[in-house]
Amino acid sequence: MQFSSSKFNSLSGPFFTLLAGFILNIFPWGNSPWVPDFLLVVLAFWVLQAPEKINLLTAFILGLLMDIQTTQILGVHAIVYVCTCFMILYAQRRLSNTTLLGQTFIMLQVFLLANLIQLFILWIIGQGKEISLAYLFLPSLIEAFLWPFLKRLLSARFTFLNNQN
């Protein structure tokens, strides 16, 4: 799990990919449960890949930015992102010991929990009464579906082994 430093400065890789995820999130998709949280998937990748660089603080700040972007109550995304990162760190050993398919199933659980936490916070605040359950399942499924592709794509670019040749 070494990080390549030949072409990229050690922090620019995460920076640019997270920025790309953020831009995908900002893109005016419209308000629909079919829109996944791209940034969350990229963030999950980096927390698993380089936990010493991308940590809960990064997650918190990115969450705050997402709250401002989505006109959500400030702090909701922040808590969701922090919890997601924590869950990944908690399951880190299991995640790095399974196949890509196994990882995807674990990530599905993580994303389901993350979206559940969001709905739970909104429910506590008193704004979650009319939210359809599509907002729980659809984004989670799509995010989990994105995971193997993103993992392949980014691992190929940013891991030590690939940098040998």
């Binding site: 005016p28 809960l56 006109t71 959500q72 808590i79 922090v82 760190l89 009464k129 009319e130 939210i131």
Partner: protein, 298 residues
């Protein structure tokens, strides 16, 4: 306990950090939701995000434009014919309206009523509508620099669409009619019945609450703004009644309404520069009541 284990095995999750950030998050949510004390953080964040947002809204706009561009010749011709007939109709109506207006102003003078101020408007463009499960909002490209103020109504050409709920320098957030706990004072156009229309939530019908079970209402009645609260200018269409449930076990009728402005269909809308009026008319006793009181006293 987690610190004591050797570093090789210390892949444990950072419990302390989690608790710290969770507490921080809860504090921020509380500060934002209950105290509304985080506008500064939002303003700073918006400074960072606004250029990217506007930049990213462009491709979508061009996509819309290009789909317009490839319209067929026949459809354009048809549209032209329709429009010319529409213009004729409108001309006729304008003539009538002129006559009505002069008559109306004369009558108003006679009645010594307050002249209804004509409302100026500012055209705005939707930058995006954010993906949130719990609210129906829009972000438009007009802000405090353009003269937008908190609470200003937003409308399309056909009717009220929502209200400005947060203002930044170059953009502002708009809550749509459907948004939860959105309320707007209305008047039934047919008979002048006053009521308040509430938003219930995403893609749910609007609800006319606190109306008597026996109130004179019908499916298809048009609801217009009453202008009573001073936030909305009077006489702008808002919604149409679609369903009335006068069940006997309820205190009031359950009345579902549909907004006249299609909330998810436009790119451009106008901000009505209607100053939220702080000098609400103080209720005064009418002449009839005064006379009665005098009689009683005398």
């Amino acid at each position: 306990m987690f610190r004591s284990s050797p570093t090789l095995f210390n892949h444990g999750a950072p419990y302390l950090k989690l608790i710290f950030f969770l507490l921080l998050g809860v504090v921020i949510i509380f500060a934002d939701f209950k105290l509304h004390a985080t506008e500064q953080i939002r303003a700073i964040g918006n400074h960072v995000l606004f250029p990217i947002q506007t930049l990213l809204s462009k491709p979508v706009m061009y996509l819309d434009l290009s789909s317009d561009y490839f319209q067929t010749r026949s459809s354009i011709k048809k549209q032209l014919e329709e429009q010319s007939s529409q213009i004729d109709n409108l001309r006729l109506m304008a003539n009538q309206a002129e006559a009505l207006e002069s008559e109306n102003s004369h009558l108003r003078k006679l009645l010594a009523l307050q002249q209804k101020a004509s409302v100026k408007s500012l055209s705005a463009e939707i930058i995006y509508n954010p993906t949130t499960p719990n609210s129906q909002k829009l972000v438009i490209n007009r802000g405090a620099f353009d003269g937008v103020k908190l609470g200003m109504p937003i409308s399309t050409d056909v009717g009220i669409m929502g209200q400005v709920v947060r203002v930044f320098e170059n953009s502002s957030e708009v809550a749509l009619l459907e948004d939860r706990d959105f309320s707007i004072p209305i008047l039934v156009e047919r008979n002048g019945l006053r009521a308040v229309l509430f938003g219930v939530g995403r893609s749910e019908p609007l609800e006319l609450r606190y109306v008597n079970n026996l109130a004179d209402l019908d499916v298809g009645d048009h609801l217009i703004t009453s202008g009573i609260d001073g936030t909305y200018p009077p006489g702008i269409p808002v919604a149409i009644i679609t369903k009335i449930d006068r069940s006997s076990d309820n205190a009031g009728a359950i009345i579902a309404c549909k907004p006249i402005a299609k909330l998810n269909h436009y790119r451009h809308l106008s901000v009505l520069l209607y100053q939220p009026n702080n000098t609400a008319p103080t209720p005064s006793e009418s002449e009839v009541v005064k006379n009665k009181l005098k009689k009683r006293g005398g």
